[in-house]
Amino acid sequence: MRYQMSWLLAGGLVVTGPAVAVAQDVLTIGVRSEAASMDPHWTQLSGDTQVQEHIFERLVGLSPTSQPIPGLAVSWEPIDETTWEFKLREGVKWHDGEDFTADDVIFTYDRLRAGVSGAPASPAFQLEKGGKQWMKVDDYTVHITTDGPYPTMAEDLAMLPIIAEHAASGAEPSVDFNTGAAAIGTGPYMFEEYSPGSQITVKAFNDYWGGEPHWDQVVFRPVGQDSAHLAALLNGDVDMIDYPPTIDIPQIVENPDFTVSTIPADRLIYIIPGNKHVEPFITDVDGAPMMPNPLRDWRVRKALSLAINREAIRDRIMGGASLPAKNIVPPGFFGYVEELEADPYDPEQAQALLAEAGYGDGFNITLHGPNDRYINDQRILEAVAQMWSRVGLPTEVDAMPRNVFFSRLIRGDELSMPGFDVPEFSIALTGWGTVAGEATYTVSGTLETYNAATGGGNGNFGRYSNAEVDARSVRAKRTIDNDERRAILEEAITIGMEDYAYIPIHFQVNQWAMKSNLEHEPRTNERTRAMDVRRVD
């Protein structure tokens, strides 16, 4: 028995030997959440897409600030009111050496429309928006038509990874991608190994149309999200981590062996006041329900905003890494309104406004929110509750795991029925990421009146409703001219935010921590990609 053991031990050493001996440029990234599948049409979780982006590309790429740039398409333009023409890149090779053509694009979109069996959240709905139809014109031209004028075509297609017809037709969703058989893409890295829970590995694709990749091999290793994952960086298990704990940022910055990269995120953290006539979690000083609901008075909403000390949240909770805001998209995004500045901290005026609105004696609030979704979400909730309590609105916090929180936020009230959601919470903290780099669907989703049929207000969980905003939002969705659309969006945003449709707190700031011999170009959309990292020693 002992004999056999030592033999096994020796065998083990022989196996690991060569891997160490070959000098390779390997980048090991410690990620908070690992990719659940290598099928790019399986989910849209950012932990999944960031790994898939190494292998698969889209017609339209996204710049670091999420603006559309050429990807597998070199150019696109509207050729009439309802048709967009996409010119594809020529000479692009799939990882197995086949040529990329328009057939692959058609195959991909057909697969999505037919439905990816079992996929929890395929991005197929991007194709339904505007009633898109697609047609191959020649090997390198594709036409996409819509019901009416459709301005955000490039943004939509930037969400749809293209897969190879010859490799993926007939493949079993997710399963065949996880084995690598169907995971044939055009991206700079090729599938190498997928062992969930342990690591995911991709290797360089030297025939990549954009030139040879920087790394021979990239390893993604799940490291959890508490401070243990910083330890993985500090003692050299990984070269780089996403979401370093904000509290430890100063310590990492001071350490000469490590460095931090930073960029404002597309994710707005905000508080949604409810607009029902009576809100269950807003009660008067005796604990009785209030009629009318004070949150329907915009002075109360403004008071709530003025009572929040956003700088204190930034400095004491976010480690300096947040961007106090009154806008709904971050600076640099299409639709950012220069004039909207974050509300100052002014508890006196908040109290004056409350008194003016007739709530000088205050009322009780229960503030809901997730505790595992956004950066420091629970601590922000508690800080806001402190601040509101101090202006005379005793506030309780009810924080819960995201899997419970979101279903209650969206349709937790018992009046909900299929096709008609009634949110449960009276006032809740949540976040919205403008993935497309463009504010049209952020305005439509968060400010427009809720309408399940049109998809308007699908993120409007306070059921805010303002005809002036609605008119502009609907018009923006039909306006192709960029300048005109920008003007309409800015008007809609200004009207909504001056009315305190919701109470913005800040934009998150994305941070990465890495060894100091690495240089990283950060992205607003939170993706961690080896393409953005290079060695600088």
Binding site: L230, A231, R316, R379, E382, S389, E396, D398, A399
Partner: protein, 294 residues
């Protein structure tokens, strides 16, 4: 009747035997001290950590011995929200002990009834009840509690329920064992002969004789329950974060350990350890002195 009562009282000298161990005396002192702190907590804590108007984010992460901007001293520092650690720990002790005691007492009550009934009735009642007990005991406590909390969600009532579910079977089995031995004794036969009611025999005669054993099991179970609650809270499945127990305080403080702010996690950890160790030492000593056959 009087004979039964004499039987129930601890044999003379148990108390003296108990006191002979310095470790046990120290454990008793420590545990009692924590109980006292838990009871009078709201009157001795410098701050009410649940009243958010008293907690100021600007005072967050101050080391022990600092002062707030109003001059209030923070003897043990503050946590990430600006909560006074001393006050948070006092309230945390309250919650941890409350959860441990409440779940222990309810489980004891449920387990005692089940055990007595099983022992007294015997037959198929006994068989069925003990199969359920065996089944319950064959699953690891942490797994059962974890599943229950995943289903039920968070809250003091829910964690107490989960802890009762994982504990009652221990009591049931122990009580049944002791009760079987007791009901074979002469005094029970005598009581039966006197045509005393079943309830009276169970609760008046058999139950008092189970007490020493139950005391030992209860002490050990409480230590286990407090530890389990802390573990579940640490996994994010126990108590709501605004009413932190010791386990949750430790979990929160973990985020700050790397930046050298040890007090947020280490201090509540030591208190938790002290409570569990003292309860276990007490249980151990009780077992040695009362010498029930466990």
């Amino acid at each position: 009747m009087s004979g039964a009562m004499a039987h129930a009282a601890p044999p003379p000298g148990v108390w003296r035997a108990f006191l002979r161990s310095p470790a046990a005396v120290a454990a008793l002192a420590v545990f009692s001290a924590f109980c006292v702190v838990a009871v009078i907590g709201p009157w001795i804590a410098p701050q009410n950590p649940y009243d958010l108007a008293q907690v100021d984010i600007m005072d967050s992460l101050l080391p022990p011995g600092s002062e707030s901007w109003t001059g209030m001293p923070y003897y043990l520092g503050t946590d990430g929200q600006g909560r006074d650690m001393l006050s948070a720990m006092i309230y945390g002790i309250r919650i941890s002990l409350l959860v441990g005691l409440a779940s222990g007492i309810i489980a004891l009550a449920v387990g005692t009834i089940v055990g007595l009934v099983a022992a007294y009735r015997g037959g198929w009642v006994d068989t069925v009840l003990m199969r359920i007990v065996d089944l319950q005991l064959s699953f690891p406590t942490i797994l059962v509690a974890l599943i229950l909390l995943v289903i039920l969600g968070r809250g003091v009532d829910k964690i107490i329920f989960a802890l009762v579910v994982v504990q009652w079977a221990y009591f049931a089995r122990t009580v049944r064992g002791v009760a079987l031995v007791e009901s074979a004794r002469e005094y029970v036969d005598a009581a039966r002969g006197l045509r005393l009611g079943a309830l009276r025999i169970l609760f008046g005669h058999i139950l008092p004789n189970c007490l020493p054993t139950m005391l030992v099991v209860a002490t050990m179970q409480m230590a286990a329950a407090i530890s389990l609650e802390a573990t579940l809270s640490f996994l994010g499945l126990g108590l709501p974060p605004t009413r932190p127990s010791l386990g949750l305080l430790i979990a929160n403080g973990f985020d700050y350990l790397q930046s050298g702010r040890y007090w947020i996690s280490v201090l509540p950890g030591l208190v938790l350890l002290a409570i569990i160790v003292s309860a276990n030492v007490l249980g151990d000593r009780l077992r040695d002195t009362l010498n029930p056959h466990l």
